[in-house]
Symmetry: C3
Subunit: 399 residues, 3 copies
């Protein structure tokens, strides 16, 4: 479809409703390395120019990392096959989805030792926007029934075994990138993440449709946390977290200290600041979809996150309001549980089990709102989900 | 010798009895990357077509792994220079040497952290047929005299420093691949594995001739375990392990439970199954060669393993008869000792020492038997080695 | 300036006093891979032929390591961008700067697990001449305030984010290679090493000008140890360490045993030998520059090290006189502190702090002396710095 094809912009969709290319596939021993497709190739009638590029990064701890750059004509984001198919950052209009981590390079997993610093090594490569925690387990490091777990699990440092790029003309022109990441060990997890990340051409939206599959002949525990992280311009003094809260409890004594303004952001703090986490169950609409929002200080920008409670029944708000230049950030984190150690989560009934060869699905959509009117409208929609008073605990969920 | 050379098949062997190519050599800063040789190149008179290829794997945790594919005209097997020159799998006739691990990709060592899971990280990449444990140490993880050892040591996740492919016309046409793997640390092991893997053209046999060399100016302990793993079709309900047992003891209380049928296979078990290990010393022939066999359920197929007791005086049978799809497997493991922690092995007198710059040799040959008659004949040969009653202990070797 | 330019050797320096090329730069996603420049290209009038080459190593644990080979016409040395921009070895005249480690390959960081052997994994890749310990911390492994530190820190196993090669005509023709290495973690160090390594054309000198920068918005501790290691021909029975010692104390009871001849070398010892470390503060000249020397057994060769005490106020002499073939070596190690665990160093007031976005500078120059006369003259200069009796402690600095 390249080059000479001329189509009226009102032409009916062609029969060719989906075009795709396999970029990486362990089964075919395939890795295209450098690759690029654009609207000129796959969607020449489009007035909006879009493209998808596979690139290899160089220098420092980035050496050899493969990145998939998606530009839908309005929003640009970078998916990282080498790092569990996570999304490092996104830009649209004047909004950046991401934050200023001390970790500026997209580090290759070969430079990340998850067992470093007593199991906190995940933080040595932590700097992305939508980093995933899981999928065998996630949460705090430490002993679970004889096994020393590392912070947030393996998936964020496991390279994708399959990467496919597709374009769907219907129902609206949409770019889809699909990744498969296998987390497998003998006498350990044997799980598969299949993640479809889609974005309508010309939109300020990104959508995750994920599936976790048990590859084993026996039931297995699993876990998934969308560790979605925001700095400026959405975060700052006066920013607000808005959510239809059903229950909320602080994670620990440190979080108790901040209960009064738990959903408000105070701006960068001093060097003594330590993180605070708030643990919530949310209300949803009739379809089981809940929504939360991070609203910018001036109320003219926001990121709205929509997700199904069936897939992500628990929500964690991570506030890390230390000084600028130390990783000032907040995390909005829907997931299968809270980020305690799995042993605590299991005791709390928040570790789901997949039957043999069964799959669990979850979705997450992020929409950028770029005017005060859009933000106010979305906020009203979220507030409408608040059908009862929130039940707020002033003591930690787990003593 | 490529292409146009025509030789009568009955021609006497040429003077050129051996041809070879150096594929990888750290001393010459050489790595050919992609390379292939075939009988057309080196043995054009051969009626049996054979080939050897060096390839690079792509996708997932395989990215960048180099594999040497050997096809002797009847048997195909894959040697992995990037993974300690182990053999990932082999196929001949309708027999597969290998098993269905949850780990399906040949993971690059950069994705394997041996210290993961409290020292069990070796299992994160465990899925091959003849994986080697050693060579500084092997066996259970844990403290040995102040050093926390990891399961089965470093060699299986160390890349080869030299890889050479040779063809020998005499005494029979044989393909030989040689690898050198250095396991060296300051204030730690400094040992070299030199492994020659050979296979006669058109045969269903593979032979390992190995040498471990002390690179240091002082005596050093070492260890070598041929961790040779089998699934279907040789393993299954009704399969049998046949060996000329001199002594045998269970590894622990769990193995004691299975003493009655310790050499029989019951087929895939339930989710509660945990592994059983039986520890044996064997009888040998006049040349010091012992033999064992894994016989398929219907008795028409078998793998016979022959090895010198001087190099491998101890034998471990690892039974892991859990459910299908969880790594149903048995390991037939000749070695310098048993897979207890080295501290236990040293106390038991099973940790050999190499004098300065000395070498130890060991051999292992695996022959596939593909008819009931062949199997019965080989079984009789093994049984003939049983020159006295086995001494069977009903209590664990180490309390 | 390549090729046809002809200049009289006495021509005045051109306006083009510095030429440079960026080889690796994470900001520009640049890595030239293979690259070479020579005096014919950048300095065609030079009677001394020099060159700088960027190469990739192959085989074993070297696979993929990038090395910068500098040949100034007299001295050759190898800088390793993949390994924290350290210097693996140097050769000039008949002197080798380096030693015979059991680790002969320049191992890629992906094969080094710093947490191996209870935090001693740094030793698994230890074999270079000027290896750097730091820069978040260095010294003995073990718990520091809840964080388990690994031996000698991360910088030696972190790849450079920027590598630049320059040639300066003035004040004397000099080759300069510059590296930037970032050591950054969330909730951990965020420090940058900028190291300029320079060598005048035709000289037997190499100079390090280093800067460590705090990338954070808050004060941070840091540490730097020039772990500079020598074997034959400078080290051997009868070699001497010469320094203007102000104070000296043994590290531990083992070092106390060797107090009598602490600055003399006895030659390779027996298998029971264990290392000895002596901790010193030195005198300096009016500019704050101190000097030490390792003098060869016959007194005809030496390496002189000059460094500013402001950057490196503490000096450690590491003696490891075990048997040949086990890593017979001595380390001359100026640094910000001594190689105890950071918790000990902090208690001793030897852990410096950098204010937000501040930098600390340090310099180290190594000159090779190649005649008895040169050696004697340099020794006299060092002895002239000894303006008072050394204060020698016979008990360990830290009980």
């Amino acid at each position: 479809m390249t080059g000479t094809l001329v189509t009226a912009v009102t032409a009916p969709p062609t029969a060719l409703a989906e075009t795709s290319e396999l970029l990486i596939d362990v089964g075919q021993n395939r890795n295209l390395g450098e690759w690029r497709i654009s609207s000129d190739d796959w969607d020449p009638a489009s007035r909006i120019k879009w493209s998808v590029s596979l690139k290899t990064l160089h220098g420092g701890r980035q050496e050899g990392v493969q990145v998939l750059e998606v530009d839908n004509g309005r929003m640009r984001f970078r998916v990282v096959p080498t790092r569990g198919f996570h999304v490092w950052d996104a830009h649209s209009d004047d909004i950046r989805l991401g934050w200023d981590s001390p970790v500026q390079e997209i580090a290759h997993p070969r430079y990340i030792d998850l067992n470093d610093r007593g199991g906190l090594g995940w933080l040595n490569g932590f700097g992305g926007w939508m980093t995933r925690a899981g999928i065998g387990f996630f949460g705090a490091p430490g002993n679970d029934n004889g096994t020393p777990l590392t912070l947030h699990g393996n998936i964020d440092n496991t390279p994708a075994s399959l990467v496919e790029v597709s374009f769907r003309a219907l129902p609206e022109p949409t770019i889809v990138v699909k990744g498969i990441v296998n987390e497998t060990q003998m006498f350990g997890p044997a799980l598969r993440l299949t993640s479809e990340i889609s974005t309508p051409v010309g939109s300020a939206s990104i959508r995750f449709e994920d599936q976790i599959t048990n590859l084993k002949g026996i039931p297995q525990e699993y876990g998934n946390l969308y560790h979605t992280n925001f700095g400026a311009p959405l975060l700052g003094k006066g920013a607000k977290f808005i959510a239809p809260v059903r229950t909320m409890a602080p994670r620990n004594a440190r979080a108790v200290e901040g209960m009064a303004g738990w959903s408000d952001f105070a701006g960068p703090g001093d060097a003594d600041y330590t993180e605070q986490v708030y643990l919530a169950e949310l209300f949803a609409d009739a379809d089981g979809i809940s929504q939360v929002m991070l609203k910018s200080p001036d109320g003219t920008k926001a990121a709205r996150m929509s997700f199904d409670l069936a897939g992500s029944p628990y929500f964690s708000l991570w506030k890390n309001e230390g000084p600028e230049g130390t990783g000032y950030v907040t995390g909005l984190e829907p997931g299968t549980g809270y980020p305690y150690n799995r042993s605590v989560e299991r005791a709390g009934g928040r570790v789901p089990v997949l039957q043999s060869h069964a799959s669990a699905r979850s979705t997450l959509q992020v929409d950028l709102l770029t005017s005060a009117a859009e933000v106010a409208k979305a906020q009203a929609e979220i507030e409408a989900l608040q059908i009862a008073e929130p039940r707020i605990s002033n003591t930690p969920l787990v003593p």
